[in-house]
Assembly symmetry: C2
Homo-oligomer: 420 residues x 2
């Protein structure tokens, strides 16, 4: 991208979107496969751009974990290409008839899925999001304005140049995929004020990025997720199952939003469960921040437990830390979740059907799990084939978002001269 | 309502919403029927409040049409009660399974409809919206914060007092229905900044109200509709059908958003169509603002046509005015609609299947009609039974919004100890 304004880019995107809206699935899949092949063929160019970004990040003293997320290699590029091929294999959401009927006077009514039009995505370091988001938007018939981070600017520029050329070679408009200038905050501000030019904005990244977009954007936003996820061990839980689910939810990938950050234990099973769980959590490298009962249980089994503060109960640690509390009832667990949860994913472990029904109906979250790890809340696990993010808002989409969530709908009404 | 802050009202609404979320359809219908009966019984109180509002409006020199919209009588109150009874008769959207499957590992996945929680509605003069919105929100399991106009403050206060008492007598929390202070702009501002306390805001009213809410709210908004709706008379149109549809769309109720504001005529039928249409429109009291070709056609048949300006093509007249242009092709008609349309309802009149397919797929609007009047775009006509407004945004809901559009969803995942 050149230094033209966001509005100009959005206008070019609108023109491309008008073409994409009527592109067939065959057209779009051909472009996706061309994008995948071109990315693999263009590996040297992408790596050259990425090396410049990585060198700059190292020179700036960036933390090793962030440098790792930024770094590409031939395998990671091949993974991006595979993602595009998988997106090509998914059903086209556009044109799906969501509902339909014949009205009493004979009018035929159909509600069909249509693309949004122009989608803006604001995201942080990882360059693989560039290819993923471009592929999902193209498949759903949307033109995309990508605003990545300045730390990945050279990588993203190389990837987008390759993708645009491939889209064009497949007969679709190159402006279906555009990269915005990441060197200043102005492009983010312009995107957020581009109401009418951009149909929806999706911020992906840390809590502060998401908060600022949500608060300042006049373009409709889909908020993606902060996850302070709980596992509630009910009075009627199988305690071995509860421990297995807790360990999986906490430790299988602590840095992701569907990892558990807190465990709540019914008082009637607290002693027995904590006597098993605290040593197992310690052995898995987990630091527990507990209520007084949990601290006492730690003392009883020789596992040190830190005293939990309000901040602990509210924390999305994204690390091997876990808050823990003993609750007198299921409804007290639900109250705790209402107070501290972020509406992402909440699990109960129980053998009681009544407890499961009560938890499912009273916990207000994108996903509620019964006897399963919170880690399953993921577009891939849900069978969506791809995921543009996990929405924690209630409007439009809630939970993992696949291709259908990147569409709007249109009513089509057909008659033969009907008047009211 | 007292002068407590919006935040306090929203917290009470949240508590009520938690109860409503698990209320059965029977509970909710009982409350709706009690609300209907109580409104009829409370007719004297409502009329007393309304008389005060009407007197104040007259004293302030309010236009007669607005005073009429504000005025209630026993028939109008009975109509509000009937609306509540009709809402009771509709299916409960809460609990509907939107999709579901068994995942490869045996997890059962269901996506179910749940209430938003707390809905804010900002609306202008008509007091009947108070009862309609309260009924639709209650049926969909939402607590509602109603912010009506100060000109209807006494009417709304009387209606809400009656509704709250009826809700309470039916065993549901009175705070499911709350009226906010309409005497200052502060309650609107507070509502718009109540992110986290209010789940969605729906502004209903004039374009400037909607624009200010959309631009300033941090709470997610569903934008309701400005309608600059077009009727396109294609080269392959039955011209008698086209005239019948145009007259219906323009004149059956000019003040509503689904009324036509513009007619586009393919040049190959322009002379024949305009020679019929211009006299018929004149006889129906319509003033036409036309392109030079239309002005010339008016001259040829002795009907005066004003020269259309850019402002005419962009206008939502809501009156017996109509802009008119001759276009060289269907795609030129689509371009005109892209430029001036508001994405509400757009109609084509044609006998050509190819033309109909092209128009339907390339016009981007909440509703596209083939050989039918734009006036059919309405929740009642679509069989939704009730309507909270017509959305012209693409996020969440587009077109007429019924009960399902007042809900979000929740994923429920059930396993027997599943871990990833």
């Amino acid at each position: 991208m050149t230094d033209t304004s966001v509005a100009d880019a959005a206008r070019r995107a609108r023109s491309a979107a008008n073409t994409l809206a009527t592109a067939t699935r065959a057209d779009k899949d051909r472009a996706l496969l061309a994008m995948a092949d071109a990315l693999v063929d263009g590996t040297p160019e992408v790596l050259a751009g990425n090396e410049a970004d990585v060198a700059a990040a190292r020179a700036a003293g960036t933390a090793a974990a962030l440098v790792d997320r930024l770094s590409l290699n031939p395998d990671r590029i091949a993974g991006m290409a595979d993602g595009l091929r998988q997106t090509a294999a998914l059903a086209d959401p556009v044109g799906e008839v969501v509902r339909g009927s014949t009205l009493p006077g004979g009018l035929e009514l159909r509600q069909i899925r249509v693309p949004f039009g122009v989608v803006g995505i604001i995201y942080e370091a990882r360059p693989n999001v560039t290819a993923d988001a471009a592929g999902l938007c193209l498949k759903s018939g949307n033109a995309v304005l990508l605003r990545g981070s300045s730390s990945a600017a050279q990588s993203n520029a190389a990837i987008v140049a390759i993708l645009r050329s491939a889209v064009s070679s497949a007969g679709l408009p190159a402006d279906a995929v555009q990269l915005l200038d990441a060197s200043s905050r102005d492009s983010v501000k312009e995107l957020m004020r581009a109401r009418g030019l951009v149909d929806v904005l999706i911020p992906r990244g840390g809590a502060s990025l998401i908060k600022s977009v949500v608060e300042d954007s006049t373009v409709p936003v889909i908020e993606t997720g902060v996850g302070n996820c709980h596992v509630y061990v009910d009075a009627a839980a199988d305690l071995d199952m509860a421990l297995s689910i807790l360990l999986n939810a906490k430790t299988s990938r602590p840095s992701v939003c569907n990892a558990a950050e807190s465990v709540l234990v019914h008082e009637s099973v607290a002693e027995a469960f904590l006597a098993k769980a605290l040593p197992a959590l310690r052995d898995a490298g987990v630091t527990v921040h507990g209520s007084p009962e949990v601290v006492a249980a730690g003392g009883a089994c020789g596992v040190p437990v830190a005293a939990a503060t309000e901040a602990d109960y509210a924390a999305e640690y994204l690390s091997l830390d876990l808050s823990a509390a003993v609750v007198p009832s299921l409804s007290a667990a639900v109250e705790h979740i209402r107070r501290y949860g972020t509406g992402h994913s909440e699990a109960i472990v129980t053998g009681s059907l009544a407890a499961a029904r009560s938890f499912v109906s009273t916990v207000d979250a994108a996903a509620v799990l019964v006897n399963a790890s919170t880690r399953f809340v993921d577009g891939g696990e849900f069978g969506f084939g791809a995921e543009i993010g996990i929405s924690t808002q209630k409007l439009h989409a809630r939970g993992p978002m696949g291709l259908p969530e990147l569409t709007s709908t249109k009513y089509v009404v057909t008659g033969d001269g009907h008047v009211r």
